[in-house]
């Protein structure tokens, strides 16, 4: 044990109570941040919390869900996992989890993805995992994380070997994602796509739609027709005005 001043010892205590980390981890974090508590928290939470979980437990969990004849968790395993976590496989939290696992494809986890993901989430048992769900869900409220998850969703949801996302999947993903955001034009958007577009969605359109949702007000008053918005979004704006869903004031 190091010789610590009273103040510093208090900080270690405080740090351990809040984070639930071991004394060793607490010391490491506090030293790294020059004994500022706030800094230490940032340090702690930004690091993959390898030290907090036990790798061997993680292997066990993976093995519980993996396919018998492949080193992967497939549809069966995923639904088993959902069962154990007591969430609907359609729940958006599964997207957040997949994002943490950096999963390449929907409903599939490789060993590396799964274990890395659990480490980054910082859990080593299903119970702890279940306990983490509310905080995982809360990550969607963070703008930057939402953007990352949103953009991740495109790659994750698209079919292998395809450049763009099939319309049906895209609409499903949008409904899931924007339900979080309460985007008032969501239904019009989905309907517009089915009526007018009926083709796959490119990554650019996918990414720009989030910008559109975030920056353009539902009355479209700050929409610039001359701007670089993807063609499809231009058409959508036209569709909204033509059909009188939105009265644009200039």
């Amino acid at each position: 044990m190091y010789k610590l001043g009273r103040g510093n010892r208090d900080k270690v205590q405080q740090f351990m109570t809040i984070t639930g980390a071991s004394e060793k981890v607490a010391l490491q974090a506090l030293k790294a941040s020059d004994w500022h508590l706030e800094g230490a928290f940032d340090f702690f939470y930004s690091q993959p919390q390898i030290s907090a979980v036990n790798t061997r437990h993680l292997e066990d969990i993976f093995n519980r869900y993996k396919e018998p004849d492949a080193d992967m968790i497939m549809v069966e395993g995923v639904s088993q996992l959902c069962n154990d976590l007591q969430v609907d496989p359609q729940d958006i939290v599964m997207l957040v989890i997949s994002w943490h696992m950096k999963a390449a494809t929907m409903c599939e986890f490789t060993r590396q993805e799964f274990i890395g993901g659990l480490q980054s989430i910082g859990v080593d048992s299903i119970e702890k995992f279940r306990g983490k769900l509310p905080s995982l869900r809360a990550e969607l409220k963070d703008d930057n994380k939402f953007r990352e998850i949103y953009n991740f969703a495109f790659t994750w949801a698209r079919e292998k070997g395809q450049k763009s996302l099939s319309l049906e999947t895209a609409i499903g993903m949008w409904q899931l994602l924007f339900a979080e955001r309460n985007w008032p034009l969501l239904d019009h958007w989905c309907q517009f796509l089915q009526v007018r577009h009926n083709k796959a969605i490119s990554r650019d359109t996918w990414a720009q739609l989030l910008e559109f949702v975030k920056t353009i007000d539902p009355q479209l008053s700050n929409y610039d027709d001359e701007g670089a918005w993807p063609y499809l979004i231009d058409e959508f704006v036209e569709y909204l005005t033509e059909n009188g869903f939105v009265q644009r004031k200039k």
Binding site: R203, D204, E211, E226, A228, P230, Y231
Partner: protein, 744 residues
Amino acid sequence: MATHERKTIDLEQGWEFMQKGITKLKNILEGKPEPQFSSEDYMMLYTTIYNMCTQKPPHDYSQQLYEKYRESFEEYITSMVLPSLREKHDEFMLRELVKRWSNHKVMVRWLSRFFHYLDRYFISRRSLPPLREVGLSCFRDLVYQEIKGKVKSAVISLIDREREGEQIDRALLKNVLDIFVEIGLGSMECYENDFEDFLLKDTADYYSIKAQTWILEDSCPDYMLKAEECLKREKERVAHYLHSSSEQKLLEKVQHELLTQYASQLLEKEHSGCHALLRDDKVEDLSRMYRLFSRITRGLEPVSQIFKQHVTNEGTALVKQAEDAASNKKPEKKDMVGLQEQIFVRKIIELHDKYVAYVTECFQGHTLFHKALKEAFEVFCNKGVSGSSNAELLATFCDNILKKGGSEKLSDEAIEDTLEKVVRLLAYISDKDLFAEFYRKKLARRLLFDKSANDEHERSILTKLKQQCGGQFTSKMEGMVTDLTVARDHQTKFEEFISNHPELNPGIDLAVTVLTTGFWPSYKSFDINLPSEMVKCVEVFKEFYQTRTKHRKLTWIYSLGTCNISAKFEAKTIELIVTTYQAALLLLFNGADRLSYSEIVTQLNLSDDDVVRLLHSLSCAKYKILNKEPSNKSISPNDVFEYNSKFTDKMRRIKIPLPPVDEKKKVVEDVDKDRRYAIDASIVRIMKSRKVLGHQQLVMECVEQLGRMFKPDFKAIKKRIEDLITRDYLERDKDNPNVYRYLA
């Protein structure tokens, strides 16, 4: 040097002598009888001054004499000049003034000679005003200052009288105004401040009142006539008696009052304004309008706007007329570009001729009017008539002129002239690529079916097009024309080859035109099952071709071929001129008298569309070579066909036409596809050099690059940008989605 002691002259004594001389001078000036100054008189006077100035102090009287010099003038002016001017008025006063001023100048000249020694030594040493200046400024200070107001009013009232048509003494005015200039001793201040300012103000008032009545009472042409006349007169006025520096200012005043103030009122006059002049072709008035309005700042802009509007309306009316004519046409002929459209193009050409003449003659080729004409033509030249774009109409128009037996019968010169004009109209059309594509289609037909009337005209229009649109535009067309020349040569060689190898002779005369793929429009090449006779021909030609060149692949386009076949009917044998497809179909009946539709389709290996077209031309049209069961006007898959041995015709040789498929849709599609490539290429080119660029700039540069060929649609550009993003040529900037980066 004379060193003897000179006798000192004192002031009174010397001045007394001088006084005599001065009095003599005054008498001469007043016209009293007095002998002229002799040189002795003059020498004596000069010497006196010299002596008085060169005596030793205190007898040096330079200073005193300098003052006395001035006093002599003052005395003369007060006693003689001013009283005589004060008792005269108006024109008489002006005459007196002129006289007095010229006398005064004489007096200054003489006196300054007498006192000349002062100038040489005393004045230059003390930097005093020289004698001449002193003399003239006396007049200025005493006379000019007192009466300049009266003089100015008298002059201006004379000018106003002249404006109203009276005769006035211009020489007098000229002399008076010279005083204003001379009195300034080299500066124009007196003329400008004491006279010109007032004149300009008076002029403004004068014409402002005139204009107020004229604009109400006169028509636009009359008003312009008056205005032009006024300007001319004012200019003459300057030449006659005003100082030349006044010309600009004076004319500006007049222009301002007569034109600038009423410009719009004048142009918009309901029954005689610019609109009406254009409508009634008042060429002279329009020229006058140009001359007048080119004088005032931004005066031509509204005129050119009205001109543009007028031309646009005329053109749009022509489009409307053609529309109406087209909609009255029989529905089945709607898709064909017919006579009405030819007339329409003619009319547009006439319209252009007419207004080009206006621009160069009435409007002296001013750029504003060239621009107005261009903009006006661009408006209606890009409208199109009943579904046909003007690009197509122009191409068809050219075709009609260039092909054999076209509807236009013209002399060689007239053809050249018309082609020239069509090419000039093309400048207004934004879809030049569409024109090129249609033109190539028509050119191909002319060349391949030997319908071109004159090779020289073909080449001449290509030269014209090349001059206007650049070499890239015409390179394919030129290639096509050249191909055909080469092909003729080829054909002779082929015939030689056959005569040298009689064993290869297929027994049929065969002519093949070998073309360069890239130059010609793309044609679909089907694997039609040719009759064995024809297969043999093809084989022979292939063998011949191989002897001439290796590494080249021949693709046969049978759909463009023609055949002459002799058909043995019961009555007589008739030579039928048909297409290769028609011939292939007819030859099937050499082996069977009756064939069903489906048998024909399988034996020919052609698409249904084609077979229906062929059968229709042979069994439902004018010449019924085949009998159809059931006998009606349309082909259906259950029909059966039979060789019509009873067929006959009064001619020995007949041509059985096969109506061409409507190519318009394909041309438009081809052009669309080419445009996508062109936009892609342009975007990549721009981004490659700029690396990072905002959306708007990229779109603008792209439009600029492509504008010479066509006007790309913003939406199309956007789509291409997105496509390039998907294909990883570009990406959006991470922080600003309005900015693109080039991915090398």
